[in-house]
Subunit: 316 residues, 2 copies
């Protein structure tokens, strides 16, 4: 039997760095800490090292460090390519740097993949072998487990499911392409739909000319605002079309939704479910399929980084 050793998990977010130390047989961290980041602040790596030193557990042997970061990044080489808000980390070899500094192995993957891995290992997907995780918030991201194995791909760029074309001549996506799932069903997509309709003179309790957040739109929908209801129905419809595509591709036993927009409830999921049922090519895909919400919340990045390190270095 392998010795139970401790893993350090790091979660690099848009506005903060987090680190925690986990014993392999315990779900709760031994120690944890977070620090805020500011755009263009220098020496982010120095502050990350300090953060890790602060949570380094006394009297424990640390086996490895796992890191979650926004993409694009390369999990095979451990290089972060172009993270939001940390400009000095363009093509930054974070795993080599951490291993050089701390003398232990380290590994990296993106936040959506690792949230999916965390939900499979510790959250809503426990016991499932084939998991589709989708985070629906400002953007749409994916994480896929196939036969208990994290889908990463040859270049480490797999499961970019928000950028699936569903309507080739559809609306503009944040990435510059058209008709992606993200352009319809993300918070940004919902906001764009409402802004366009308001500009075209559509009646609504929402004000034209100001920024209406996806959350404000969901509140207006709950008050019966027809435009806001339609915005979420459109988002749900395309989310259903996208998930039908993913069931046809991956055929999971569970679909787990994370991210703020996925907490909108029936205003999103009623049209999602109708659309998914309409678009699936064979009823067997839906037999026993569980569609549920993520369980791990803000800790998904840390727990996913921890799970990746445990999987990757479990024979150490």
């Amino acid at each position: 039997m392998a010795l139970m050793r401790t893993i350090i998990a790091v979660d690099i977010g848009g506005t903060q760095l987090r680190a925690a130390a986990y014993k392999q047989d315990q779900i709760h961290p031994l120690t944890q800490k977070r620090v805020e980041t500011k755009a263009n602040e220098p020496d982010t790596f120095g502050r990350l090292v300090k953060l890790i030193e602060d949570i380094w557990p006394k009297n424990e042997q640390v086996a490895a460090i796992g890191v979650s970061s926004p993409g694009p990044l390369d999990p095979h080489t451990g290089i972060i390519m172009n993270p939001p808000n940390i400009k000095e980390w363009r093509d930054f070899p974070i795993t080599s740097k951490l291993t050089e500094h701390f003398g232990i192995p380290s590994c990296l993957d993106n936040d959506a993949n690792l949230a999916g891995l965390a939900e499979w290992k510790f959250g809503a997907g426990r016991g499932h072998h084939n998991v589709l995780y989708l985070t629906v918030s400002t953007g749409v991201g994916g994480g896929v487990i196939i036969d208990d194995h994290l889908l990463q791909g040859h270049h480490g760029l797999a499961a970019e499911l928000g950028h699936t074309t569903l309507q080739a001549d559809g609306p503009l996506c944040g990435c510059g392409q058209h008709g992606h799932l993200e352009s319809f069903s993300s918070g940004t997509g919902i906001e764009r739909f409402v802004a366009e309709q308001l500009k075209a003179g559509r009646d609504s309790i929402l004000e034209s000319g100001k920024k209406n957040s996806a959350y404000a739109i969901s509140e207006a929908a709950k008050q019966g605002d027809a435009l806001s209801i339609e915005a979420y129905q459109v988002a749900g419809k395309y989310l259903g079309i996208g998930v039908a595509n993913f069931l046809h591709a991956f055929d999971p036993s569970i679909v787990i939704f994370g991210g703020g927009v996925s907490q909108s409830g029936p205003i999103l999921f009623d049209s999602f479910e109708a659309s998914l049922k309409e678009r699936i090519i064979h009823p067997r895909y839906l037999e026993g399929l569980i569609i549920t919400r993520a369980e791990l919340g803000d800790d998904a990045g840390l727990l996913g980084a921890r799970a990746l390190a445990e999987l990757k270095f479990n024979s150490l």
Copy 2:
């Protein structure tokens, strides 16, 4: 080292049954045979047993039987659900029947998955760990290898890539849905496009009111017929959009095309490549990516069935 034993491979096609015996260290079969099938002919299983007995190698120990069949089917339970042209095999437990009759383990998967597995093990995908195989003929089918592992899915229905929605309000697909890759880029889709345009009075060297095959359309395109050229350009454009989706999902190192339509050459692939480059969200997906033709032709089903049996029962 495991004893090299012999595998029997079976390929159930729309018009014929094939069987072959393979030694594990040889690419060419020891013995092989095929028989024609006719729709609604009785006792298909009896004829399959006879075929297997005919090719059963003397003086060899047979380890297992692998079976390739058109879907839908369940590879986990070994049940063929509804094969074309063999009506008596609705929900037919072929692997149990074969195991019961011959006293050795057997396994099953669909023709597209197994053609992909065969190309990875013996064909164009040798040495690659992440393979996307697409067959483009009457329909569009997929087979996906992820980290040297065949993607099958929870219900065994994964990699139905022809039924990926690319244009939610697009043309009718053979499955009854709209805007699938298959509805645009299969031979059937190409034929439908031409028939519709001819019916609308479009000028062409092809005759309206008669059935123009995808092959006849490709010949007309090569003679400069503008409608036929456009039909293949549309097919290529949507094939590029579909493959961009699949690269974003699976991130393979090689894309392998099988099937008759994929032999159309530049009339299909020029627009395919332009479309793929336009639609990919990050150039890294294309770094080192090989896009090539299948190598195994008609033997892909047999070799895939053999590969599945070798993988599944390799510890016997």
